[in-house]
Amino acid sequence: MKTNFLFFLSLFFFLSENLLAQDTGRFSGDLETTVNFFQKDAEIGAANTPQYDYQFVGLNSWVTLNYSYKGFDVGARFDGFYNSNLQDPQNSFNGVGIGRWYLKKKIHNLGVSVGYLYDQIGSGIIFRAFEERPLAIDNALLGLRLTYDLGKNWNIKAFGGKQKNRFDTYASFIKGANIEGFYSPSDTSKWSISPGVGVVNRTLDDNTMSLIRSEVRTYGQDTFVPAYNVYMFSVYNNLVAGPVSLYIEGAYKSDDASRLDIIQDSVANSALRENTGSVLYASLSYSQKGLGISVEGKRTEFFDIRTSPLESLNRGFIGFLPPMSRTNTYRLTSRYASVTQFNGEQAFQANIFYNPSRKLNFTLNASRITDLDNNLLYNELYFETKFKKARKWELIAGFQMQQYNQDVFEQKPGVPIVETYVPFIDFSYKIARKKTIRTEWQYQFTEQDFGSWIFGLVEYTIAPKWAFAVSDMVNIDPKKSDDIEHYYAFLASYTHKSNKFTASYVKQVEGIVCTGGICRLEPAFSGARLTVTSTF
């Protein structure tokens, strides 16, 4: 890591020295810093972690600096975590250093990139190097990538490296290649195809293999000889024909050890088993003026591909399986969200968007996810309508129904399927040219988990600089306590040009936090939060 950083720094200064005398190039960057002040509140479960017990303050910070000059792109990102609960909400993590550096250059048709790289093949099923800060996921690949343009519409790519693991890397070596392109009979043709083929290989290091061999050696009749290499292939194509588009991707992985929960003697034991895997994903959409319809389907079987079969939780993902339920944004409609099941899932989703006029639109979404034995994991029906009255006011109203398998998604044994019914309304009213007041009201009826909730929010905005909000989420029919708990929040933000400062005081209930189907259970939070974001 240190060697890499010194190399990068030398290169950075070399370029700067040589370029300052000639041309300025272009600097850009961004900053994101969050300081959490933890205030113990055992009543809501915000307790018993180092932050609540004795650390009291935690910080997460990312500062990125990019520089571009005559086709050269270089950049670095400083990552700082002090008493951070981001990596593991139950514990504290400290680490400071260069979280990312990179250098890119295009030499005629050849593109060269080195450093920590983000990229994907197809929809990401067999390879996706990405960052999701809310979940502390940073799967950048530290290595080399070469791309080559094969004419105007086709390109080929090859890469290799090791996946980032906080301020280090995982030991396994990942490499892959991808060719994809675009074909249309003519510039005026109504149809086109965008096909692609990708392959990824992961080779385990000797130490990891030694651990796996020791582990499977203890399995008796279930033992197997683990392989160093796993190969993943995907073939995909996007067909566009007039208003219709059809995306299909099929992926396959060779025999590989993966973790399975196996019930033995009434105990769920995580054990390694060797399986081939597959994913089939298709998305059909139709759109014309004022109307959009899409239908998606996905079937997954044993596709938990990581830097090592021994990794768990949200660590070491090599691929990414597209989520098959709506990404909700309102507080109570997003309280329960489906969690991607890598070892077995079949899912369908349909979405209709209808916009009869500029003032009015409707959205209807339905999704259903089951395991491979057809046991229900998630069901959602969502309806939303938006009505705008000139520039004076805007009303959004809707209704959501969900069935959520909490037993599987949150590993809470024996709990029933959570069924929710959520009507919601969001009303904005412009009281002056720059002043807007907005209010949200949501009611979640459920007999399970914590019981029913009501959420209310009032937000006052003085454009473009100030925003103030106050909200409360109340467990009006508590099933887990005798008292009616309030989870209130106060927020103020100030924006000046590209800088934004936000201060909030929050009491937040335990719940699932998801980004693109990758989720984790976040414990309750109590305390204050300061956030600074900036771009330059």
Partner: protein, 284 residues
């Protein structure tokens, strides 16, 4: 277009060519070095658990399997210091396995990340982010540690008085080779086969059998410093005394028949806390 299709076909043909691996057969475990008259190498696994940790029974079950496979070479300690997961459940739990030292040991050895989790000889292995390790790696690291030479012999002499429930014990150390690092001795009283509440994947289990519970740490959380030189041939004796508590001083009287003593020598730290050798005896 045609050229590109040919290229795609070549690309596929190249990568779809099967690659047969040449690897040695799995075979059996190699076991630890016998080392002549030396005490056999032992490994300590410290599991962090809690009665509300639904994943933890899987870890405990795995430890039992590993104990069966490794015999006396593996010593297990279950520390109920898994944050909020260790809090007893009102109405179900009839004992409390937590202790201040359990949480302090979590702070010392942590951070805890995901369950089941355990340390193997308190070692931070090179490819790991911390000392806490998930259960599919335990067997491998135990195997690796068993390959190491025993550097110090640890034995325990003790007497237990049924009438007073008092135990007097002396831990004897005999160094087989020079050890440059500062060392500490840790001594723990354990109780096993305690029937009490545990959350499991099948729901609330009121009759769960808890094993290897750390009941009391007789030494400080960081261990008692081993004074003097620690060179080959050096011997040390360190003595302790303790009375097993009874209700109502504790919620449930500790059953002396199920209690044991674990002693282990480790680096003082703070950077490295590796365990050199451990030894376990039954109280009765």
């Amino acid at each position: 277009m045609k050229n590109n299709i040919v290229l795609i076909l070549l690309f596929c043909a190249f990568f779809f060519t099967s690659c047969e691996e040449t690897v040695p057969p799995l075979g059996g475990g190699t076991g630890g070095p016998t080392g002549g008259d030396k005490q056999a190498r032992s490994v300590l696994i410290e599991e962090f658990t809690g009665v509300q940790c639904v994943q933890c029974p899987a870890g405990s079950a795995r430890i039992e399997e590993l104990l069966d496979l490794n015999g006396e070479n593996l010593i297990a300690l279950s520390i109920h210091g898994a944050g909020g997961f260790s809090i007893p459940v009102v109405g179900f739990s009839t004992d409390d396995f937590r202790s201040p030292e359990a949480f302090a040991m979590g702070d010392l050895l942590g951070p805890l990340e995901g369950y089941p989790t355990a340390t193997v000889n308190r070692k931070q292995f090179p490819s790991e982010a911390g000392r806490m390790i998930g259960l599919t790696k335990w067997a491998g690291y135990i195997d690796q540690e068993l390959q190491e030479e025993t550097k110090v012999k640890v034995t325990i002499d003790h007497t237990y008085d049924d009438a007073t429930r008092n135990v007097d014990l002396t831990v004897n150390l005999e160094f087989y080779e020079n050890v440059a690092e500062a060392l500490v001795l840790n001594v723990v009283i354990t109780e096993t086969n305690v029937q009490n509440y545990q959350l499991t994947p099948q729901g609330d289990d009121l009759n769960y059998i808890h094993k290897h519970i750390m009941r009391k740490k007789l030494t400080p959380v960081n261990g008692d410093p081993i004074s003097g030189t620690t060179n080959a041939g050096d011997t040390k004796q360190m003595s302790y005394s303790f009375t097993l508590p009874e209700a109502p001083d504790v919620i449930q009287t500790w059953n002396a028949d199920n209690c044991g003593i674990i002693a282990y020598v480790s680096w003082e730290g703070p950077a490295e806390l590796n365990v050199l050798q451990a030894h376990e005896v039954k109280l009765k």
